[in-house]
């Protein structure tokens, strides 16, 4: 018993050094050499400061920008408090939130049903993407506000749409922050 206790203690220390310290340090070193941008979060610099990460969504409310999905992370897209709403499908708070957002969106684009991802919160609260349907739904508003042609916006959306992996895995998505940066660059 005493011997096993000693072995257990020494085994914990030795394997902690190997697996808890040396292993992550080795992975970090190789990642920083071979995949530097990815390993550091694909941050986007602009005018001498950082404006975001390609992978982390942001809140947009102005009519001239494409809007992201609702977010339950902190006050919205708080990247230190990731998470979903945890509302179940029969939760009155979910229904009220969706109905509120839906009527607001339908006011700007009447007679079109709102794509579901545009009125539902993502699991991370940081989803950088919206579906192509949700991007298309917002074209009339953005076109009006920016006095751009709808065809031009369609082209921009297509340029920032990520397809399925090998045409098979996942679902296509439009990266909202990068799309909006491209919109600003058009001016």
């Amino acid at each position: 018993m005493k011997k096993q206790l000693m072995t257990a203690f020494l085994m914990t220390i030795a394997t902690t050094v190997l697996l808890g310290i040396l292993y992550p340090l080795a992975v970090t070193a190789l990642s920083q050499i071979f995949f530097r941008d990815q390993a550091n979060g694909q941050l986007i610099p602009k005018d001498g400061h950082l404006v975001g990460s390609r992978l982390i969504g942001q809140v947009f409310t102005g009519p001239g920008y494409f809007h992201s999905r609702p977010s339950a992370a902190g006050d919205g897209y708080d990247a230190t408090a990731s998470g979903g709403s945890n509302f179940g499908p029969t939760n009155q708070k979910l229904i009220d939130r969706v109905n509120g957002d839906t009527s607001r969106l339908q006011a700007e684009n009447p007679n079109t049903p709102v794509p579901v991802d545009l009125v539902t919160a993502s699991g991370s609260g940081l989803d950088p993407e919206i579906s192509p349907a949700a991007a298309e739904f917002q074209i009339p508003r953005v076109a009006r506000e920016r006095r751009m042609s709808e065809d031009k916006l369609k082209q921009l959306i297509a340029a920032h749409t990520r397809g399925r992996w090998l045409g098979l895995l996942g679902e296509p998505g439009v990266r909202v922050l990068e799309l909006n940066l491209a919109l600003d660059a058009e001016k």
């Binding site: 914990t12 394997t15 992550p24 970090t28 409310t61 996942g170 679902e171 909006n180």
Partner: protein
């Protein structure tokens, strides 16, 4: 449901089929101590480890000694994790200057990670330092998985050995599982994840300027409305990929970030998502082939694999169907699947994964005892959320946790041959060993611990408004499901959650901590007792009355036993939770 979705699911199962054999052969060689291509590098490391820790690698253990070594190791390493959390303020790799963790939360987390559960009552971004994540949490991801594999191998030895007292050496099995299997696979997998965009650094959190500053209406301390301007976003960073790799391969599931594998830094692309799901099933699927090799009955290994595949397909079909449905309570919303959107129930799901990959992930993570999530289970449709719940209730034997899935399944195999024996009136046998009263008693003990702990704690919490139901965030039947899911997940050592439950309270931290310890160790002890008992027995040659364990009939009977045991135990609780919610939702009722 779309054709593309089904193709993804079939491709996934196909790859699991293809990797079972090569990985199974490799693992059999590792534990039979035969030569492998990794020996030149790993043998020296192994020898140094034994020298440092005083392990005699040629020594063999009886089941009792094996069990005690395992318990002592788990206890000591659990204590170390507790201390690391309490003292993280004084330890390095803490750029956010996070303070020590509170005692009840530190106990809960230590129990959680050393039992391979990875239930998380805390928000990692604001609670755990990089050092705690690496040397505490990710470390336990390795060790709890290695312990699981060691136990499964010990059980197989019990079945195979004849008139022997011993079932192997715990320290050697655990060390070899770590060095030969987990560490090399993790290394490659971690780099593959980084290439997809999983972060791996020791930076302090980055601050970026928002493209469009936001004005947020809030109620101030004096009750008046205040407008706050938010012009920056703080982005949490960390050594994520190295932890992510073992989180999936070791079927642990504890996220580096609160949102787990839904977080874009943990799981950025559909391809990283596919790799993560493969990683969950890889070792458990391989172990079925290891079982076949070590017992000399490869078809038995495949028969067990097939039973797992059948239960997997049943689960994913229901989950995918349920999540593709439109929520009838939402109006003016387009919930149809088209080429432009995945449609369905998107609350709590990421655009890049859509419905099919979210339903598949939820099924895989609970078939195994992983518990990582790439979508919010709490926001699944009632029947969609019931699939992960039922998967855990069946004992997570569908491929299952690394090691724990196989030994859990073998307990059901013992019950199956026992029931088959009863039906034809012969003494039941399993691969040449007579299954007798002692074995069946131990198997039943192991099976009964689970519902007993789950249902008693759920009942207490549901009947206690002050400390039990007050933590739920959804009302009506969904609230009951949140509590039921918490105890099922912790006793099953899964760790996923209906996360609306605010479980960081004294009652939940302590009772869930106890559930995890019961669910792990009270299941393992009887299981090892069976192994030790079987090892001593003489082998008897198969006769006409022997029920073969290599046929489709066996597979079918095994599936039936698992479903019947699970259904009889949990149906009443399920009917008051998700089933009732489904019926009320379709009747237009909200809560």
């Amino acid at each position: 449901m779309t054709m593309n979705g089904w193709i993804q699911i079939i491709v996934f199962l196909g790859v699991i089929f293809l990797i079972a054999k090569p990985l199974g052969i490799f693992m059999a060689r590792v534990f039979d101590r035969e030569k492998t291509f990794l020996d030149p590098v790993l043998r020296p490391v192994e020898r140094i480890l034994y020298k440092l820790t005083g392990v005699n690698e040629s020594e063999e253990m009886k089941w009792g000694e094996y069990c005690i070594s395992m318990l002592i190791f788990s206890l000591v390493s659990m204590l170390v994790l507790y201390l690391i959390q309490r003292g993280q303020g004084l330890l390095p790799f803490n750029p956010q200057k996070l303070a020590g963790v509170a005692p009840d939360l530190a106990f809960n987390t230590a129990a959680s990670f050393s039992t391979n559960t990875n239930w998380q009552s805390y928000t990692p971004e604001t609670t755990m330092s990089y050092f705690t994540q690496m040397a505490g949490l990710a470390y336990h991801n390795f060790m709890s998985a290695a312990v699981g594999i060691a136990l499964a191998i010990a059980f197989i030895r019990g079945v195979v050995r004849r008139e022997k007292e011993t079932i192997g050496n715990f320290w050697v099995d655990m060390t070899r599982a770590t060095l030969w299997i987990l560490l090399p696979m993790c290394f490659i997998f971690a780099l593959a994840l980084v290439s997809q965009g999983v972060v791996q650094n020791f930076r302090a959190y980055d601050t970026v300027k928002l493209l469009e500053p936001q004005h947020i209406q809030k109620t101030g301390a004096d009750g008046k409305a205040v407008t706050q301007t938010v012009s920056e976003q703080v982005i949490a960073q960390g050594p994520v990929a190295s932890q992510e790799a073992i989180k999936m391969l070791g079927t642990n599931g504890g996220g580096f970030f609160n949102a787990n594998s839904a977080h874009p830094f943990e799981n950025p692309t559909p391809f990283s998502n596919f790799l993560q799901m493969l990683a969950i099933f890889a070792i458990p699927a391989g172990l079925t082939y290891t079982l076949g090799i070590m017992t000399g009955a490869k078809l038995h290994g495949w028969a067990v694999w097939s039973a797992m595949a059948i239960l997997f397909l049943a689960g994913v079909t229901v989950a995918y169907w349920a999540e593709s449905q439109a929520n009838p309570l939402l109006h003016g919303v387009d919930q149809h699947a088209t080429l432009m959107q995945s449609g369905g129930n998107m609350e709590g799901k990421e655009v890049r994964f859509g419905i099919a990959d979210s339903a598949l992930f939820a099924t895989v993570t609970t078939d195994a005892s992983c518990g990582a999530i790439n979508g919010v289970h709490d926001s699944f449709m009632p029947l969609g959320g019931m699939v992960p719940l039922v998967n855990i209730m069946l004992g997570e034997v569908v491929f299952g946790g690394v090691g724990s899935g196989l030994y859990g399944m073998l307990i059901f195999v013992v019950l199956t041959v026992f029931i088959a024996g009863l039906m034809v009136g012969r003494t039941p046998e399993y691969l040449g060993k007579k299954i007798e009263a002692y074995d069946v008693k131990m198997a039943m003990l192991s099976v009964l611990i689970f519902p007993l702990t789950v249902l008693v704690f759920t009942a207490i919490s549901s009947a206690a408004p002050s400390f039990g139901t007050s933590a739920t965030s959804n009302s009506g039947p969904h609230g009951l499901t949140e509590i039921l899911y918490a105890y099922t997940s912790t006793v099953g050592n899964n760790g996923s959650a209906f996360a609306g439950l605010s479980a960081n309270t004294h009652w939940y931290n302590v009772s869930l901590g106890i559930s995890m310890i019961f669910g792990r160790f009270l299941v393992i002890v009887p299981m090892l007792a069976i192994a030790g008992n079987l090892a001593q027995k003489k082998a008897i040659p198969p006769s006409l009355g022997t029920f073969p364990v290599t046929t489709p009939l066996f597979t079918l009977l095994l599936v039936s036993v698992i479903v019947i045991v699970g259904a009889l135990t949990f149906f009443p609780a399920l009917s008051l939770g998700p089933i009732l919610e489904h019926l009320l939702m379709n009747a237009g009722k909200a809560f």
